[in-house]
Symmetry: C2
Subunit: 151 residues, 2 copies
Amino acid sequence: MTIGEVAERMNISISTIRFYDKEGLLLGLKRNKGGIRIFDQQDMEVLQLIECLKKSGMQIKDIKQFIKWCSLGDQTLQLRKEMFDKQKANIEQKIKELEHALSLIEYKCWYYQEALKDGNEKRVKQLTPEQMPSVIQEAYQQTHHLFVDKG
Amino acid sequence: MTIGEVAERMNISISTIRFYDKEGLLLGLKRNKGGIRIFDQQDMEVLQLIECLKKSGMQIKDIKQFIKWCSLGDQTLQLRKEMFDKQKANIEQKIKELEHALSLIEYKCWYYQEALKDGNEKRVKQLTPEQMPSVIQEAYQQTHHLFVDKG
DNA sequence: ACTTGACCTAAACTTAACTTTAGGTATTAC
DNA sequence: GTAATACCTAAAGTTAAGTTTAGGTCAAGT
């Protein structure tokens, strides 16, 4: 496959793929006699791995390091394991933070929904936790130290 | 409180706080006669809200927009609600992506742990899902289309 | 009086991850 | 044969979210 086909299939831009190649993330990528990149199934899989690791918050330079380690064989197994152990902890932490943020946002969604019923924030602002739906109450109790008077 | 005290308490750098102020995120922040910023409890709460929204992936310009809407009163309630509804969907999507990435990473952690027992990847590379621990099997089945031959 | 420390501003710099531009090659379509 | 396409490189530009720098004010301590 050519770069254009890969870009369309995977929904990544052509320039991004070339950028990854330049950065050394696509080790072993073949070219034809004219210098044009030819992608096979494995190259596609590397690209998918890159996208997944990026979504996990890993930086390009670390993905590059990992890919380089892969090419160096068994003596880098320990390093690769440590990298993933660390990344696992990173993701778990991120998920926790997002869940916490979600609590706040869910409270806010409910808050504004109530405020809109009245056209103003007076009533909802004065509600005590006991007067909130239990789902919101939980969100509120996790995050109410964050709430601003202004709403 | 002064900027230095706030920075230390909240573990944000002084320059970041000044940057937020310059960007208009700290509307209504007072100064003393010498021009020095004086923070009260409400300003701290706004800062906490900013940190939380940032962690949720919201951009500074959107946080700024929200804060501006707050200052415009009840006619912006609908807009504020829509912003949070949208942000709620964003976070839920992000959590899903992270959980998917976590599956891959958990598989990788297990993979390298097994590989290290042998000093190479030969055995672990050939295992079928039935031969994996069930937790890993689930992760594998969600993500095995991503795996590269090289490990 | 003078030095120190905490504050101030404006403006330049930084970093990551791309994207855009400018100029060139090679294959296919008419 | 020439025009349109899809590819190529190197280098400059972009954006977000800060950080750093340079130069200045002000209050407190010695």
